[in-house]
């Protein structure tokens, strides 16, 4: 069974540009979470989808971040326009609705904003 995949693995963009990160959860996992780790700091929750619905987006830093999960399968996280402080590693995780404690993480996307 394939694990959680994320694309791209690394993105380098200029300040003011737009970047879209993609996460493909494990098939059948209705829960999908986005987290990020800014350099040297803790990993912080961004938002949680159950199928295509946003269950909790309390961690989204500001309205430059837009997450979608159309059809309840893969999810995208768009940053527009990107700022320097957005640099970090963005992780996606998925889990089954009945087992939210067991989250499977993807390899992360390392975003560098110059």
């Amino acid at each position: 069974e394939a694990g959680v995949t994320q694309f791209p693995s690394h993105s380098v963009i200029e300040k003011g540009q737009t970047v879209t990160l993609r996460c493909d959860p494990i098939s059948g996992h209705d829960n999908l979470y986005w987290y990020r780790r800014v350099m040297g700091k803790e990993i912080k929750f961004l938002l949680h989808f159950v199928k295509e619905s946003k269950q909790d987006e309390s961690g989204m830093p500001n309205n430059r971040f837009l997450a979608e999960r159309t059809g309840g399968t893969y999810s995208t996280l768009k940053v527009q326009p990107a700022e320097l402080e957005d640099s970090g590693v963005y992780f996606c995780a998925s889990s089954q609705v009945g087992a939210p404690d067991t989250q499977y993480f993807g390899p992360g996307t390392r975003l560098t904003v110059l």
């Binding site: 959680v4 994320q6 829960n31 979470y33 987290y35 700091k41 803790e42 990993i43 912080k44 929750f45 949680h48 269950q55 909790d56 992780f91 995780a93 889990s95 939210p100 404690d101 067991t102 989250q103 499977y104 993480f105 993807g106 390899p107 992360g108 390392r110």
Partner: protein, 112 residues
């Protein structure tokens, strides 16, 4: 507010030695989990300990949980160079939606 805080922030040991990392948290928890992140790679789930458990083992890993002190420790015995990574404790938020609150992590370097 941050759920988990870890110490030390950085630890450097020789191969073969044991490494101990500590995590403290602020609110009641149902379980506490430990994750590892190797450089440039994703988070790997190491072990989960439930609030009614005091100690758990998995291979060379030993986790303890003291709910009265709101603290947990991760012990890696007979460390190897491949154990070099960042280690994070995490606990589910009280909302019970699965959202995890992470500590700042401990960066472990194991020198060959």
């Amino acid at each position: 507010s941050q759920q988990g805080e870890e110490d030390p922030q950085a630890l450097s040991i020789q191969e073969g030695e044991n490494a101990t990392m500590n995590c403290s948290y602020k609110t009641s928890i149902n379980n506490l989990q430990w994750y590892r992140q190797n450089s440039g790679r994703g988070l790997v789930h190491l072990i989960l300990i439930r609030s009614n458990e005091r100690e758990k083992h998995s291979g060379r890993l030993r986790v303890t949980l003291d709910t009265s002190k709101k603290s947990s420790s991760l012990l890696i015995t007979a460390s190897r160079a491949a154990d070099t990574a960042s280690y994070f404790c995490a606990a589910p938020a009280l909302s019970n939606t699965g959202k995890l609150i992470f500590g700042q992590g401990t960066t472990l370097q194991v020198k060959p």
